[in-house]
Subunit: 334 residues, 4 copies
């Protein structure tokens, strides 16, 4: 940590600060400049509150030099993490194509979609059983029954299943789920993250509505520091003043995250745009940007879908998209 | 709901849509304009997915005309809700002055601060026992012990206590807490909100990092629709590209919320700015904007505070601030 | 325009509004719903101020149904506009690869870069002569001399030149420039746009820092409604709370804009990210998203570049990138 | 400037960087930490591009320690600047109450409003003659004629006039205007700012749509570094994802700016909210936050106003508001 003092600071105040810092267990290196004095802290600064120091009268600004994310940091783990889900691998050159409806509705629906997307290139099945909805009056998902239907679809197709968990009290229901998804609204539900850190299952962690990359990595750190290192990050659009799309898909987050961390990074173009016509170009763009996978909403009857129909592809549209995505990936990264 | 069709729409497609809508239980009123046809839906449109309809080929745009928040809507409940906490009232002309440290640290600390702020005008005590922190390596609060210390401080001063709950599994620990706070990061933790809706206790609901007013009201609706109508809303700053303050305090949210809902609205100038020097002007501005109360961080030793010291007032600064806030309120609203 | 009245509106107030609207030259169609009355305005509503009407006591909300952009609207001009610059075409299947340094510095520099990038696939040369800088103390560009150097580079290589204009008073200096660029900070400098609308030259219009797509289209409309229909739109990142990249590149804007307008849309991955390592993945992603071209900063000596070195590619990096971009484009869109 | 190197940097690369920095005219102080080496630059670093250095392989991060704004910096000019406009003073304890219609429409209108607001407490008259409109098809203002009408209103009332300039070519028309306003969209129209820096007249500089405080100060610096130190800053709301108000009024900017600069800071609650009902609470809040003045839209016939009627107060509403604002200011700051 580096502390820049204001010009012409009172010597006794500076000593008081230095004393307090040393009491906190760090050594203080003083560099006197022409205009300003700079204190360099050497040792473990994890317990020192940078905001508090920045608020002191004599301090101009503070800068942390060591990064606060450790377990997910590529600096300490240069090789890509490969997350394994059944036979499917994600990361390290392996591409995940996760597809399925927003909500699980009926057995026919989920099994029907699962069969179609398996044939056309999906290697995992998504489907919401517990649905986070802005309004308490909107459809909240089939819950336990939805998970049962997903398992039937898995049995029929062999596709591993990905579904969202909203509360630690529901954990027993997810015992036989392959990948547990943490939704954007729960990215900083720290109690949930800690519990998921004690599982031995892959976690798909979505970036929050307005969270920075560092916050996303710190949330991964909550899971990983509890022992579960199988985390898949997911960019799904952030909230801005955008007037035509639901969110703003931040694709530069993909190469940036892959530089900062060894974890796989996938993209959700369906929630990012909220418009099915924009899903194919954004899916291809995500592949070109270096994503390790995609999670795409596919529904066989968008008009009657109980939620999010507007952003779902039909199975036919999905079938056309898959080879294009793979060709783009090949063109960009081989 | 109003559906504007694109120009020159195919008649059979229009009929197909109309048919589907009628099947969903609404009547459809067709108005043919010079350029475009407009469908007005009459009846209960709660089950109709506006996004899905907007995604259809033949549809130009969709507009909901009835608001999705009901229980908290001022239209259906014109009088201010007054939330009662012990002897303290909030809303309907009653002003809450909630103060205390970010985190409960020791018995001396919390009781000491409680006594000082009580003398100088606080009517409730805040203090974090469970702390949501971006990093798993940062101090997470004293948890159960913190709540016990708050109760001791309450016993010594008579001040009702406000503290944050992060998970439904901790609910039993909060049985004797006066006001349960839902933090910004949990504003859309819908499972937590539903549980809080079954309590008979006031809930202080903070606006999320990047949530709209409508989303805040819908989250209140999650609590209220489960039976608990004692909800206090709190504006605490939203995330923007601001370069000097931690968040951007959205004070216009105060009069706007008070127009939309009958619930009391308070302001947290400490988290909004993250800088203790800005707390007094923003506290006075909040009172001038019509807030029903303030929640302010006060710490007797900011340099040693375990978290958020940078934004805490000293008890002396708080003592100077209180009469100014009350005078501003008097000048603006009497 | 559709006006939704509040429930239980006073009949005389409604008549007063209807009268005023008819006075403004539109017909008013009244639809009475179960809860609310809706007025549909038929005729030319361009002179009616929607915000004013929305502010009236008796009005709940207002919605415009006809779009305010006309000349650039794809509805009225379904075919792609192809902008021609010398032998180079942009749009309608033609791809622009514009490259060059942020600032023109010396004759050797600009001519040297121009030769290198021409060999490796650029078909236009960019270089700043007038530089918009946040600080008045930063380098402001070589101005007239910079334009002269660009012309020399054009003579040596045959590459058309693109350079930014900041003020109408400089227009005479740009007489022999091929494409005039309007920077993000000037996207709503309406007086400049009007003047450019009277030229017979292509205009490269960059999206502003925090402007919506509609505002970008309305700014194009300022140029086009004055007679100059050769406008190229450019997405260059918008301002958000992003912590690692300078701006957030909004790639979904590309397919969305191409749906809304017939104008060509290009992408600037250099300014969007501010980090040269992120330029190649974002350039490929832009091609995959359907962009009609790229504008990329290339500098032969980033360490000594007078500005924006951090985001410049070297000519070698550019040479490697070009075939990848073209392959991605082929894979995605052929 | 402080440069933090990555761990385990190659010595020859570090020397190369140090050599280049010394060539740029600064001394380099090397501090070797346990983990990382830090370079402290001593001397004038204005010509060193921090972004470029941050982009180098061996560099972890860079921090500027000296602020880039000089002339407007309170550090170098601790006393408040008082801007004098005729008999009216702004700043240093003097409060400006600027009011008037969005657009000048007719002589009766502007003179009528001017008389009413003068009687009820305004000390300056605002009115737009040149109007920046998103759409080229919207009313663009009366231009030269509007300025003539403002002068007539000034003659009748004695109120100094404030009106917006959009282009340097219009400067001759503004010779007899008292205060020239730079609108939000032109905050970074640097050529305009430079020209205004050569005048001997107060400039009212509005914060841009999505600009940071530092950028606002740097734009003031463009005016001041050219010789004109009479600059009034104006907070008018920034663009966010707000759903009910047009912009988000950032009132914490007021005390923050007043800490950073000696210039007066006023607030525009009309454009910030876009809703006349929110103007009174926000005007009072601005006074409580420490603003040096207000600029408020007042119109005698909002329904017929040619633009922005929705955010205008009537003269009666304004008359009620003025004493409240003054009382709040007295309560907060005396």
């Amino acid at each position: 940590m580096i502390i820049v003092l204001k010009p012409d600071v009172d010597a006794s105040k500076q000593e008081q600060l230095t004393g307090w810092l040393e009491e906190m267990g760090v050594r203080v290196h003083v560099a006197v400049g022409d205009y300003q004095t700079v204190l360099g802290l050497i040792g473990n600064t994890d317990n020192i509150d940078a905001d508090l120091i920045e608020s002191l009268d004599i301090v101009d600004s503070v800068k942390r030099v060591s990064e606060s994310f450790k377990t997910c940091n590529r600096k300490f783990h240069p090789d890509d993490t490969i997350v394994q889900v059944g036979d499917v691998k994600i990361g390290g050159g392996h591409f995940a194509m996760i597809a399925g409806p927003c909500s699980v509705e009926t057995q026919e629906q989920i099994t029907g979609i699962a069969k179609e997307i398996k044939q056309t290139g999906a290697n995992m099945l998504r489907g919401g059983a517990f649905k986070p909805r802005t309004s308490p009056y909107d459809f909240q998902g089939l819950k336990a029954k939805g998970i049962e239907l997903l398992k039937i679809a898995r049995k029929e197709t062999g596709l591993p299943i990905v579904t969202e968990i909203m509360s630690v009290v529901d954990l027993p229901l997810f015992e036989d789920v392959d990948v547990l998804q943490v939704g954007a609204r729960n990215m900083q539900n720290f109690d949930l993250l800690k519990e998921l850190g004690m599982l031995k299952k892959p976690i798909l962690l979505k970036r929050g509505l307005a969270n920075t990359l560092k916050e996303l990595l710190m949330s991964a750190e909550y899971i990983m520091s509890n022992g579960n290192e199988q985390v898949i990050l997911c960019e799904r659009g952030i909230r801005t003043y955008s007037d035509y799309t639901r969110n703003t898909l931040d694709l530069a987050a993909v190469p940036m995250l892959k530089e900062l961390t060894h974890l796989p990074v996938i993209v959700d173009p369906s929630h990012a745009t909220g418009i099915s016509r924009l899903v194919p170009p954004m899916a291809m763009a995500a592949a070109a940007a270096g994503a390790d996978g995609l999670i795409i909403e596919v529904h066989n009857d968008p008009l009657h879908a109980l939620c999010d129909g507007a952003q779902s592809l039909t199975p036919e549209e999905f079938a056309k998209l898959v080879p294009k995505v793979l060709n783009v990936r090949e063109a960009a990264w081989s």
